[in-house]
C-alpha cells in the first residue's frame, strides 16, 4: 500500500512538472495530462489524480489572492491588493473577493499558505488569548 502510494505520488509530481509552459501552469497542458491518464490508465489512477489535483490546487492558490472581507470592498481595493501582491511575490497574482461576515470588520488576504490578517475578529482573538 505504501509503495503504491509512493509510486502514485511520484507519477503525479512528474505529470505536474510537465504541466508548465514558460514557468506558468498551462490549462492546455493540464488537459493533456488528463487525457494521458484517461488513455494510458496508470496503476491507481484515482490516487494519481488526487495527488495531481492537490499539486495543481496549491500552485493555483499561489497565484491568487483570496480577499475575505466583512462588508463591501471596491474593485479598486482588489486591484491595489493584486498589484501589491504581484510586486511582493514577483509573479502575476489576481485578486478574488469572498465575503466573510465572521471577520466583523477588516480584511484577510490569503496567497498560497501565507495569510495577511487585518480584521477585528483576529484582533479580538489576540486580545482573548492575552487575557
Amino acid at each position: 500500500m505504501a509503495t503504491h502510494h509512493k509510486q502514485a505520488l511520484l507519477l503525479a509530481r512528474r505529470l505536474f512538472k510537465l504541466s508548465f509552459a514558460d514557468g506558468v501552469l498551462s490549462p492546455e497542458l493540464v488537459n493533456g495530462v488528463l487525457e494521458y491518464v484517461a488513455k494510458h490508465a496508470p496503476a491507481n489512477p484515482v490516487m494519481v489524480l488526487k495527488a495531481y489535483h492537490r499539486l495543481v490546487a496549491t500552485e493555483l492558490s499561489r497565484s491568487r489572492a483570496l480577499v475575505e472581507h466583512a462588508g463591501s470592498v471596491e474593485a479598486s481595493v482588489l486591484r491595489s491588493i493584486a498589484a501589491a501582491m504581484t510586486k511582493k511575490y514577483g509573479r502575476p497574482i489576481t485578486a478574488e473577493s469572498r465575503p466573510n461576515p465572521a471577520l466583523i470588520a477588516g480584511l484577510r488576504v490569503r496567497v498560497g499558505d501565507d495569510v495577511y490578517e487585518s480584521s477585528v475578529a483576529a484582533q479580538l482573538a489576540t486580545l482573548a488569548a492575552g487575557v
Partner: protein, 508 residues
C-alpha cells in the same frame, strides 16, 4: 470599573492596525500523535507549529509537499482539515533556580500542583553542544556517597558516566543516592558558610517510567531533603512518545542554564533505552527508513548530541550527566547500550548475579570503568583506594579458581580473605550515602588490617560501627580529614589512635 475599561483600551491600542502575516497549513492526516501537514512553506526544522485548541507541534520531517509534525499535548480535538500556523520560534523551556524543588513536564510546565513557576528565562530545547575551545578538563569530583563508586569508579564534574544493568539491579538507586549525597554536601557547606564551595544542583529526567515509580523517587528525595536542590522532569509512560523524546533535551536545557551561569549541575537520564524506543516509535510513524532493531539511522546522533551537552566550561560551570541504560539479560553488546557506552566517559555496570548474592550496590568491578574521573578524585581517596580495584579483580579471579580445589597456599588464602572483606565493606544499603571523609577513614582501616581479625560476615556491621564511632566521637578528626582532603603522617597517626580505640569498643 473605569480602570478595567482603560486597561482594555490600552490593550486594544497596543494591537497594531497593520496586517499580521502568518504562514499557514492544513492537517492532511493525523494518527498516533503525528500529523502530516499541507502548506507551511516557511516552516523551519524543529520549529514550533501552533495547532487549534492550544496544542503545539514540532516540525520534524520537511518534505517536498508535506510536513511531518509530532504533536505535544491533547490531540483528541484535532481533525483533518484544521488550520495550523508557524510560530517562528524553536521549542523552549523555562530555566533558572525557580525550577528547583519542582516537578515539570517535558515542556517545562509544572505538574506538581504547587502553582506557577517563578522563572523568567527560557532556553531552547535543542542546542549545539559546547565546542572544543571552551571546554576544560575534569578536575572536581562528583561524590556519590557510594563507597564502591567513589573509591574505584570516581566521577568528575562535567563527565558523562553511564549506569548500565538489567532491570531491578539498582541503577536508579545509584542516581538517587548521588542526588541525595550532593544535597547533603550542599547543605553542609551552606551551613558552614564556605564561600568557595560550588553547590551541585540536580536534574532528574524520568522517561517512560510508571507514575508510581516517579512518585516514589520524588518521595525519596523529599524525605532526604534533596528535593530543594533538584528539578524533576517527568515524561511518564502515559505521556505521548513526543514528550518522552523531548524530556531529556528539556532537562539538558535546564542544566545548561546552571552551567552557563557559572554553576554546577548533575543530570540523570532515567532511562535512555526507553528514550530510544520512544524515538523509534515516532520515526516509524513518520515513515523514516528503519535500520538495525527497527531504530532509525540517526539513533546514535539522538544520544550523542544529548550527552555532548554535558561539559565543564572554562570560566563557567559544568554539567555532569549520568545516563541510565537498561540491558536485557546482561547483554551490553546490544545496539543502544554499545552506542551509549561509546559516547560516555565510562560506565558503572551492575550485575544481576551480584545483586542476588546480596552484594549491593551490585557494581561489577571488572566491567566498570571511569575514563576521566580519576583526575578528579580527592588525594585521600587515592591514597587509600589506589590498589583496591586491582585487589578486587585478583580476588574474583582467585575465587573462581579456588572453587576447583581446597588446597590453597597461605598467600592465596590471604588474598581471598582480604577480597571477601573488601566485598563486604562495599555493601551499602540504598538511600544511605556515606561522606567521603568517612569513606576514606574506613578504607584506611581496611588497608591497615583493622578488619582482618573480624569474621567476614560481620565486616559490614563492623564498618558501620566504625563509621558511627568516628562520626560521633571523633568529629574533630573527621573535620580535619574533610578540610585537608589528604592523609599525612600526623593524620595517619590520629587515625591509628582512633581505630585502636574503636577496636576496644567493638565486640564482634
Amino acid at each position: 470599573m473605569s480602570t478595567v475599561l482603560e486597561q482594555i483600551e490600552q490593550q486594544i491600542a497596543k494591537l497594531s492596525n497593520k496586517a499580521v502575516k502568518k504562514n499557514t497549513g492544513n492537517i492532511r492526516a493525523i494518527a498516533d500523535g503525528v500529523a502530516k501537514l499541507d502548506g507551511l512553506s516557511d516552516v523551519m526544522y524543529n520549529e514550533m507549529v501552533q495547532f487549534p485548541g492550544g496544542a503545539i507541534g514540532i516540525a520534524l520531517n520537511l518534505e517536498e509537499d508535506e510536513v511531518g509534525c509530532v504533536i505535544l499535548g491533547d490531540v483528541s480535538q484535532l481533525k483533518e482539515g484544521d488550520e495550523v500556523q508557524t510560530t517562528g520560534r524553536l521549542l523552549s523551556v523555562p530555566v533558572g533556580k525557580g525550577l528547583l524543588g519542582r516537578v515539570v513536564d517535558a515542556l517545562g510546565r509544572p505538574v506538581d500542583g504547587k502553582g506557577p513557576l517563578d522563572t523568567k528565562e527560557f532556553f531552547p530545547v535543542e542546542k549545539i553542544a559546547p565546542g572544543i575551545i571552551v571546554r576544560k578538563s575534569v578536575s572536581q569530583p562528583v561524590l556519590t556517597g557510594i563507597m564502591a563508586i567513589d573509591s574505584m569508579i570516581p566521577i568528575g564534574r562535567g563527565q558523562r558516566e553511564l549506569i548500565i544493568g538489567d532491570r531491578g539491579t539498582g541503577k536508579t538507586t545509584i542516581a538517587i543516592d548521588t542526588i541525595i549525597n550532593q544535597a547533603r554536601i550542599n547543605r553542609q557547606a551552606q551551613a558552614s558558610g564556605d564561600k568557595n564551595f560550588r553547590p551541585l544542583y540536580s536534574i532528574y529526567v524520568a522517561i517512560g517510567q510508571k507514575n508510581s515509580n516517579i512518585a516514589r523517587t520524588i518521595a525519596a528525595l523529599e524525605a532526604a531533603g534533596a528535593l530543594e536542590y533538584t528539578i524533576i522532569v517527568a515524561a511518564p509512560a502515559a505521556d505521548n512518545p513526543a514528550n518522552q523524546y523531548l524530556a531529556p533535551y528539556s532537562g539538558a536545557a535546564m542544566g545548561e542554564w546552571f552551567m552557563e551561569n557559572g554553576m554546577d549541575a548533575l543530570i540523570v537520564y532515567d532511562d535512555l533505552s526507553k528514550h530510544a524506543v520512544a524515538y523509534r516509535q515516532i520515526s516509524l510513524v513518520l515513515k523514516r527508513p528503519s535500520g538495525r532493531e527497527a531504530y532509525p539511522g540517526d539513533v546514535f546522533y539522538l544520544h550523542s548530541r544529548l550527552l555532548e551537552r554535558a561539559a565543564r566550561l572554562d570560566g563557567k560551570g559544568s554539567l555532569t550527566a549520568l545516563p541510565i541504560i537498561e540491558t536485557l539479560a546482561g547483554d551490553v553488546s546490544a545496539y543502544i547500550p554499545t552506542n551509549v557506552i561509546s559516547i560516555t566517559d565510562g560506565q558503572i555496570f551492575l550485575e544481576t548475579d551480584l545483586f542476588n548474592q546480596g552484594i549491593r550496590p551490585a557494581v561489577s568491578v571488572g566491567l566498570s570503568v571511569s575514563r576521566v574521573g580519576s583526575s578528579a578524585q580527592l588525594k585521600m581517596t587515592k591514597q587509600v583506594a589506589g590498589k583496591l580495584k586491582g585487589e578486587l579483580a585478583q580476588f574474583r579471579e582467585l575465587a573462581a579458581f579456588a572453587q576447583f580445589g581446597s588446597d590453597l597456599d597461605a598467600r592465596t588464602k590471604a588474598q581471598l580473605d582480604r577480597g571477601s572483606r573488601i566485598v563486604e565493606l562495599f555493601k551499602q544499603p540504598a538511600g544511605n550515602p556515606v561522606s567521603i571523609e568517612l569513606q576514606a577513614a574506613v578504607l584506611w582501616a581496611m588497608q591497615n588490617n583493622y578488619f582482618d581479625p573480624i569474621e567476614v560476615k560481620k565486616v559490614m556491621a563492623a564498618a558501620n560501627h566504625l563509621k558511627d564511632f568516628l562520626s560521633t566521637r571523633k568529629t574533630a578528626l573527621i573535620d580535619t580529614l574533610r578540610t585537608k582532603a589528604a592523609i599525612d603522617n600526623a593524620l595517619a597517626a590520629d587515625l591509628k589512635t582512633a581505630c585502636d580505640e574503636w577496636k576496644t569498643t567493638f565486640t564482634a
